[in-house]
C-alpha cells in the first residue's frame, strides 16, 4: 500500500506556537553570544520575581534550545533548579529535562534539587509523580541513590498505574547506576509481586526490570498461564517483550509447549512484524526437538513472512524480514521454493534489498528440483545483469553458482548448456561482432564492459566445474578482448582459459604475445604469474609457436626488479624446464581437466546454528552470532582495567627506575628497557624517548597546534570525561610556570583565569599523526586532539586535572604519561 493513499483527513493539532515563543523564534536561530547566558540568568530571576509563568517557560525553552544545540548552559544550574518548585507542569518538565542533562557535571548542586523532587513525588497529579520519579532515577549520580531508593520503594505501591510502571523502570536504572548498593532482597520480591498487577504496562515493566536486574531469569508455569490469559490486553511493544521472555522459557513437557503454541497461533497473523517475528521464534524454539511438528511450523510461518515482507511500507522492515527468510532457508532449504516470484527485484528496491533477494533466489534455485522454476529464476537473474555494477556481479555469481549446484542433474536437465548459451556466450559474441565491423556499424552501440568482465570472471568458475565446455567458449576468446579495459580478474580468467586448452583457439600464442607486449607491465603480480603459467602450458602443447616469446617471458619474470613471488616462481619454472620438460609439463598441468565438484566456500556456515538461537535479533542481520559483535561486560571492564594498569605500571617504571622492574607484567614489557639508577624522572623520560621500541617514541605532538576557542568548547562539550587526576600541591603554582614547560612540547595554553578562589587553566595539544602511521590506524575517526582542564583551588591547594580526547586509548597510554612527566618539572611531587 502506498502511504499516500490515506483516506479521509487525519485530525491533527495545529502547529501553533503560543504567542510567547513566536516572538522569540527569531532569536532561537541566531548565533549565541557569550553574554547570552548572563542575560538568560537575569531574565530568569526577573521572571521568577514577577511570578510570570509564561515568561519563565519561554526563558526555559530558550535554555533547553541552547542545550539541544550543544551549547553549555550548565552555568545556569543553580538558577534553573530554583524554578523547579513551580506548579506549572510544563515548567517542571523543562526543569527536569535540564537537570537530568546536566546532573553529571553538577553532582554537588543536585542535593538542592532533591527536596523539590521529593515534594513532587507526593504531588496529587500522577503524571507529576511519575515525572519526578523518572527524573530522580535518571540523575546520573550516586549522590541520589539513597533518596531514590526510598522514593521508589514508596511508589511501587502507588495507586496510579502510571507511577508504578515508572517506578519499576526506575529500579532498573538504579540497579545500573550501582549494582552493589542495590537492595536485591527488598526489591526483587516486590517486582515479582508486581507481575501480578492489574495494569498491563506495569506487568511488562516489571518483566523488563527483571530482565535488567536478573538477566536470564525465566518464567514459571504459573506465570506463563497468568500472562497468556491477559495476553490480549498488552500493547504490541509489551507483547514483544513477553514473547521474548517466553522464548527463553522451557516447557516442562511437549504438551505444555504445544498448548502455548496453540494460544499464540493467532499472533502469526499480526500486522506488526516485530510481534510476528517474536512469535515465530517461540514456535521454532519449542519445536526444536520435534522434527515433524517443526516441519508443520515452517509451513505455517512462511505465508505470514512473505506477506510481511511484501506489505511492509518500510524497506528497512522488509530488509529485516528478508534476512530472517534467508536464515530460515538454511534450515529448510525448500521452504520458499514455490514462492520464488515474490523475490523478484523491483526496479525501485534499494540495493540492500536487491542484494538479499538475489541471495534468496540463488538459494531457491540451487535447491529447486522443478526445472521450469530454475529456468525462470535464471532468466530473471539475467535481467539484473544490466543493472548496477554490484548487482550485476552478484547476479552473475548467482547464476554460476546455480549451474554448479545442479551438476548432478546435468543429464536430466542440462542447465550448464542453457546458461552457457544464454548467458555467457552472447556477451562474448558481441565482442567479436563489434570488432569485426571495426566498431562502425554498431547499432547496439557498445559493449557493456561491466557485464563482459563479470561474465569472464564467472566463466572461470563455471569452467572449472564444467571443463567440457571449454571447447565452446574458447573460439570467442580472441585478441579483440584485449582492447577493453577489463579488471585484472577478468584478464586472469582469459589467460587461464587459454592455458587450459591451448589448441582450441588458433591464435592462443599470439593473444598471449600481444598481452605480454602491450599490457604486461601494468598488471598486478597475480596476473603476471597467471601469464607465466599459461604461457608454459601453451608451450607444452604448441612449442613451435611459443618458443620465440617464452624466453622473453621467463627472462622478464625472473628479473629481480619484479615482485619476489613472481621472481621465485619463474626461477622455479625455468629450473624444472631445464631438468626435464616432460616432468615440468606434468607438474604444471597437474590440475588440468579435473572438474571441481564443490567449492569450499559453499560449505555450511558454522555460525548458522548459533544465529538460529538468536532469531529475531541483530545477529540475524549481521549474519554472525552476538558473541562476535557484542562486547561483554567483562571485556569492557577488562579493557578499562588494562588501560589503567598500563598507565600505573608505566608510572611506576618511571618513578622507581629499575628497582621495580620485576613488578612489571607483560603488558608493558616495553618499559623494561627503562632501567637506570638515576631517580631523576626527567632524565629517565629522556632516555625512554630515545629508545626506539618505547611506548612514547612514536608519539609526537604538533609543535604549533591550532585550536580556536569555539572548537575547544564544542569538543569539550561533546566528549566524555577521559581521565581525571587530583594532586595536593605544597604551594600555589602560577600558570606561567606550567605554561613554560608545556609550550616547549606543543601543549599550549588556551585560556586561564581565576574565579571564586579557583584558578582554571585550559590546555590543548594535537598529535602529529604523520609521524605515527602504524599506531593509530584503527582510530582515524577522531581528531587526535587532547584537551585539558586544570583547576587549582587557591585555598586548599588541590589541583585537579581533567583530560578529554576522542582517542581515549592514546590519551591513556601516551598522552597522560607525557603530560604528567612534563608537569613533574614544576611539581616534582607528582611522582612521590
Amino acid at each position: 500500500m502506498k502511504a499516500g493513499n490515506n483516506v479521509g483527513n487525519i485530525v491533527t493539532i495545529n502547529n501553533n506556537n503560543n504567542n510567547a515563543s513566536q516572538g522569540k523564534k527569531e532569536s532561537y536561530f541566531s548565533e549565541i553570544k557569550k553574554s547570552e547566558i548572563g542575560l538568560l540568568k537575569m531574565n530568569l530571576s526577573n521572571a521568577v520575581n514577577e511570578r510570570d509563568a509564561e515568561k519563565i517557560k519561554e526563558i526555559l525553552q530558550r535554555i533547553i534550545y541552547f542545550m539541544t544545540i550543544g551549547m553549555d548552559v550548565s552555568a545556569l544550574f543553580p538558577d534553573v533548579i530554583m524554578v523547579g518548585s513551580s506548579n506549572n507542569i510544563v515548567i517542571k518538565k523543562l526543569v527536569y529535562l535540564y537537570i537530568v542533562h546536566y546532573s553529571k557535571s553538577n553532582p554537588d548542586l543536585l542535593l538542592l534539587v532533591i527536596n523539590t523532587i521529593r515534594r513532587d513525588c507526593t504531588d496529587r497529579n500522577p503524571i507529576i509523580r511519575g515525572l519526578a520519579l523518572r527524573s530522580l532515577c535518571s540523575l546520573d549520580s550516586e549522590t541520589i541513590l539513597e533518596y531514590a531508593n526510598v522514593e521508589i520503594g514508596k511508589h511501587l505501591t502507588d495507586f496510579s498505574g502510571y507511577v508504578r510502571k515508572t517506578a519499576l523502570l526506575g529500579l532498573a536504572k538504579l540497579y545500573h547506576l550501582s549494582p552493589k548498593s542495590f537492595d536485591l532482597d527488598t526489591f526483587i520480591p516486590s517486582i515479582y509481586g508486581m507481575i501480578m498487577d492489574q495494569d498491563p504496562q506495569v506487568i511488562v515493566n516489571a518483566i523488563s526490570a527483571l530482565n535488567e536486574i536478573r538477566p536470564g531469569w525465566t518464567f514459571t508455569f504459573d506465570l506463563v498461564q497468568h500472562l497468556m490469559s491477559k495476553f490480549k490486553e498488552f500493547n504490541e511493544w509489551s507483547q514483544c517483550i513477553i514473547l521474548d521472555c517466553l522464548s527463553r522459557y522451557k516447557p516442562s513437557n511437549e504438551e505444555e509447549g504445544l498448548e502455548i503454541l496453540n494460544l499464540l497461533d493467532d499472533r502469526l497473523s499480526h500486522s506488526n512484524s516485530a510481534v510476528t517475528l517474536s512469535t515465530i521464534k517461540i514456535f521454532l524454539k519449542y519445536t526444536d526437538d520435534l522434527e515433524e511438528i517443526q516441519e508443520q511450523v515452517y509451513e505455517r510461518i512462511k505465508e505470514p513472512l512473505i506477506t510481511l515482507m511484501e506489505n511492509s511500507e518500510s524497506n528497512e522492515t522488509s530488509y529485516t524480514i528478508l534476512n530472517h527468510i534467508y536464515l530460515l532457508m538454511s534450515r529448510s532449504p525448500k521452504l520458499f521454493n514455490k514462492y520464488y516470484k515474490q523475490f523478484y527485484c523491483k526496479y525501485n528496491d534499494p540495493m540492500y534489498i536487491k542484494t538479499l533477494k538475489v541471495k534468496v533466489l540463488q538459494e531457491i534455485a540451487a535447491n529447486q528440483t522443478y526445472i521450469e522454476a530454475i529456468d525462470e529464476i535464471v532468466t530473471e537473474l539475467s535481467e539484473y545483469l544490466h543493472e548496477d555494477h554490484s548487482l550485476c556481479k552478484q547476479a552473475m555469481n548467482a547464476i554460476t553458482d546455480i549451474a554448479q549446484k545442479h551438476k548432478k542433474n546435468q543429464e536430466k536437465y542440462p542447465i550448464d548448456k542453457h546458461i552457457l548459451e544464454r548467458i555467457f556466450l552472447p556477451f562474448l559474441k558481441t565482442t567479436i561482432d563489434t570488432s569485426g565491423g571495426d566498431g562502425v556499424g554498431d547499432h547496439s552501440g557498445f559493449i557493456n564492459e561491466t557485464i563482459l568482465s563479470y561474465s569472464l570472471i564467472c566463466l572461470k568458475d563455471f569452467l572449472r566445474v564444467y571443463p567440457k565446455h571449454l571447447n565452446n567458449v574458447l573460439p570467442y576468446i580472441t585478441s579483440s578482448l584485449l582492447q577493453y579495459t577489463l579488471p585484472p580478474q577478468a584478464n586472469e580468467s582469459i589467460l587461464w582459459m587459454l592455458g587450459e586448452e591451448p589448441n582450441v583457439q588458433e591464435d592462443t600464442p599470439y593473444i598471449i604475445e600481444e598481452f605480454f607486449k602491450d599490457h604486461f607491465d601494468q598488471q598486478p603480480t597475480f596476473i603476471k604469474i597467471q601469464l607465466l603459467t599459461t604461457s608454459l602450458k601453451v608451450f607444452f602443447e604448441r612449442p613451435g609457436e611459443m618458443l620465440p616469446i617464452i624466453r622473453d617471458i621467463i627472462t622478464k619474470c625472473s628479473n629481480l626488479s619484479q615482485d619476489p613471488d613472481l621472481h621465485e616462481i619463474s626461477l622455479f619454472y625455468s629450473r624444472i624446464l631445464l631438468l626435464d620438460v616432460e616432468k615440468a609439463s606434468s607438474i604444471i598441468n597437474a590440475s588440468k581437466n579435473q572438474p571441481i565438484n564443490s567449492f569450499l566456500e559453499d560449505e555450511t556456515n558454522e555460525y548458522r546454528d548459533k544465529i538460529f538461537d538468536e532469531f529475531n535479533t541483530l545477529s540475524v542481520l549481521y549474519c554472525k552470532p552476538s558473541l562476535i559483535f557484542i562486547k561483554s561486560k567483562e571485556e569492557v571492564e577488562n579493557e578499562k582495567n588494562q588501560i589503567i594498569e598500563n598507565q600505573k605500571n608505566y608510572l611506576l617504571s618511571i618513578t622507581n627506575g629499575n628497582n621495580n622492574n620485576n613488578n612489571n607484567n607483560n603488558n608493558n614489557n616495553n618499559n623494561q628497557q627503562s632501567t637506570t639508577n638515576n631517580s631523576d624522572s626527567k632524565s629517565i623520560i629522556k632516555q625512554i624517548e630515545s629508545s626506539p621500541s618505547n611506548l612514547i617514541d612514536t608519539f609526537m605532538l604538533e609543535q604549533r597546534p591550532e585550536l580556536s576557542p569555539d572548537e575547544f568548547q564544542s569538543l569539550w562539550l561533546s566528549l566524555e570525561d577521559g581521565h581525571n587526576f587530583d594532586i595536593q600541591l605544597d604551594r600555589f603554582i602560577d600558570n606561567s610556570e606550567i605554561e613554560s614547560v608545556m609550550s616547549k612540547e606543543g601543549i599550549l595554553c588556551l585560556a586561564f583565569g581565576s574565579v571564586n578562589d579557583q584558578t582554571k587553566l585550559y590546555y590543548y595539544a594535537r598529535q602529529n599523526i604523520v609521524d605515527d602511521p602504524l599506531q593509530e590506524q584503527n582510530q582515524t575517526n577522531g581528531t587526535p586532539v587532547f584537551i585539558i582542564e586544570i583547576i587549582i583551588d587557591e585555598k586548599s591547594l588541590l589541583m585537579s586535572i581533567l583530560f578529554k580526547s576522542p582517542l581515549l586509548k592514546t590519551l591513556h597510554t601516551k598522552f597522560i604519561p607525557k603530560f604528567l612527566s612534563l608537569l613533574s618539572i614544576p611539581i616534582p611531587k607528582i611522582f612521590n
Partner: protein, 431 residues
C-alpha cells in the same frame, strides 16, 4: 529491545534532538555514525550498521535521519517499528515531520520522547492517547491537574483498551470503511506476466461515541463454506490468504468462527490487510515498441488496453515510459489524453483522465531526437510504470456484507463503505 539513545538528525548528520535513555553508549557516537554514513557509498548502505560493538539502526524520513543506537543484541524489528511509530506520532502532532517542525517543537518532542520510551523500553505510543496529556499549549492539563482528569488520563495510558480512551463523544455517529486493493504486477520484456498479486486493506475511520463494539461481515470463503454446511444461503465467497489485523481485533474469535469483532480506535486506522496470490488478468495492459536509431532519433509506439469490465472506468491513468536521459525535442501524438515529457524522470508521462473498461485500446506515438555524440555508458533499463485507480471495483471480489455497531447507549450509527482498486507496484519491463 532496549535502545540506548534516540537521535533526530538533519540530512548532513547534525543532531537536532537527542535523548539518551540508558547512558551506556556515549552521545558522541552520533558523529561516528554520520562519518560512517557519509563515507559509505549510497549503494552499499544498509539500514542497520554496526561499529565498535554499537549498532546503529536508522530510517530516513524527509531528509531527516532517525537513529537508534544499542550496544546489545537487540530486536531489530522492534526498534525499526518504534522509529516508524515515532514518525507517525510526530506527524500527528506537527502535520509533517521535518527539520523546521523539529526546531519549532523541540520541547514537545522532548516530552513525547519521554513518554514513548523509558530506559530504552517503548511505553505508550498511541498518538490519540498521547495527545490527551501532551499538547502543544500544555494548558489543558494544568486545568485538570486538580480535578479528576489526570486519573482518567493515566487510566487510558495503561488501561485495558490501550488504543481507545473513554468518554469520546460525537454528535453524529459515523463509520467510514474503505476497501482498498492495490495490484502489484511485473511483466517481462517479452510480455509474460512474471508476478501478479493483490494486496488489500480495509481502512476505517471511526467517529463513534463511547466504547462501541463492532462486527464486520465479509464474503469470506471459509465462512461461507462453514455456513453452507449449516444450511445458510449460499453466495460467492472470496478466499483471503494470510489476513492480518489491527491489534484491536479479537483474533481468537476470528480463528474460531471467522467473525471480525473489535472495539475500534478513534479516528483513522487500518483494520485489516490481506494478500491474494491468484493470477489476475492485468487490468491495464501496456505494450511498447521502441525503435532506436543511434545518434539520431528514437521512436516509441505505446499501446494501452483496458482488460477490466466494461462498466468500470479507470481514473487518472498515468503511463510512464522511460526514455534515454539524453533524448531531446520531444514530439507526441496520442488518440486520447495528454502527453508530457518529464526530463527530471527521463520519461514520457501519458495521462488519461478516464479510461473506460471493456477492452478499449489507445495509442500513443512519441518521437525524440538523440544527440550525435552519446556517452558510451551502458544504460539501465527502467520499466514502464502504470498508475491508475478504479473506483467501485475490487479485483478479488471482496464485499462488506454488514457492519454492526453496538454501543450500550444504543445510538444509531451510519456505516459508509467504499471500494477502490489502485495500481500498486505495476511495472512492465522494457527490452
Amino acid at each position: 529491545m532496549a535502545a540506548s539513545a534516540i537521535f533526530l538528525m538533519d540530512s548532513k548528520g547534525k543532531v537536532l534532538i537527542s535523548r539518551n535513555y540508558r547512558g551506556d553508549v556515549p552521545m558522541s557516537v552520533a558523529t561516528k555514525f554520520v562519518s560512517k554514513i557519509l563515507e559509505e557509498e549510497d549503494l552499499n548502505l544498509k539500514p542497520i550498521i554496526q561499529e565498535d560493538g554499537i549498532s546503529y539502526i536508522y530510517v530516513k524520513h524527509n531528509n531527516l535521519f532517525l537513529l537508534a543506537t544499542t550496544e546489545r543484541n537487540a530486536n531489530a524489528a522492534t526498534i525499526l517499528l518504534f522509529l516508524y511509530k515515532m514518525i507517525e506520532v510526530f506527524n500527528e502532532y506537527f502535520k509533517e515531520l521535518e527539520e523546521e517542525s523539529i526546531r519549532d517543537n523541540f520541547v514537545i518532542i522532548y516530552e513525547l520522547l519521554d513518554e514513548m520510551m523509558d530506559f530504552g523500553y517503548p511505553q505508550s505510543t498511541e498518538p490519540k492517547i498521547l495527545q490527551e496529556y501532551i499538547t502543544q499549549e500544555g494548558y489543558k492539563l494544568e486545568r485538570g491537574a486538580k480535578g479528576m482528569l489526570p486519573i482518567s488520563v493515566t487510566g487510558t495510558i495503561t488501561g485495558a483498551v490501550s488504543w481507545r480512551k473513554e468518554g469520546i463523544k460525537y454528535n453524529k455517529n459515523e463509520v467510514f470503511l474503505d476497501v482498498v486493493e492495490s495490484i502489484n504486477l511485473l511483466v517481462s520484456a517479452n510480455g509474460t506476466v512474471l508476478r501478479s498479486e493483490i494486496v488489500g486493506a480495509v481502512k476505517m475511520k471511526s467517529k463513534l461515541s463511547g466504547m462501541p463494539e463492532l462486527r464486520l461481515g465479509l464474503n469470506d470463503k471459509i465462512l461461507f463454506e462453514n455456513s453452507a454446511k449449516t444450511g445458510a444461503p449460499k453466495g460467492k465467497g472470496v478466499e483471503l490468504e494470510d489476513v492480518k489485523f489491527h491489534q484491536c481485533v479479537r483474533l481468537s474469535k476470528f480463528e474460531n468462527d471467522r467473525t471480525i469483532s473489535f472495539i475500534p480506535p478513534d479516528g483513522e486506522f487500518e483494520l485489516m490487510s490481506y494478500r491474494l496470490n491468484t493470477t489476475v488478468k492485468p487490468l491495464i495492459w501496456v505494450e511498447c515498441i521502441s525503435d532506436t536509431h543511434a545518434h539520431s532519433r528514437v521512436e516509441y509506439m505505446v499501446k494501452a488496453k483496458s482488460q477490466f469490465k466494461g462498466k468500470s472506468i479507470a481514473n487518472n491513468v498515468e503511463i510512464i515510459v522511460p526514455v534515454p536521459p539524453d533524448a531531446d525535442t520531444p514530439k507526441f501524438r496520442c488518440t486520447v489524453g495528454t502527453c508530457k515529457y518529464a526530463p527530471e524522470k527521463d520519461a514520457i508521462i501519458w495521462t488519461i483522465k478516464q479510461f473506460p473498461g471493456g477492452g478499449r485500446e489507445f495509442l500513443m506515438r512519441a518521437h525524440f531526437g538523440l544527440p550525435s555524440i552519446s556517452d558510451e555508458k551502458p544504460a539501465t533499463k527502467p520499466p514502464i510504470m502504470v498508475k491508475f485507480e478504479i473506483p467501485y471495483y475490487t479485483v478479488s471480489g471482496i464485499q462488506v456484507r454488514y457492519l454492526k455497531i453496538i454501543e450500550k447507549s444504543g445510538y444509531q450509527a451510519l456505516p459508509w463503505v467504499r471500494y477502490v482498486c489502485l495500481s500498486g507496484d505495476y511495472q512492465f519491463r522494457t527490452s
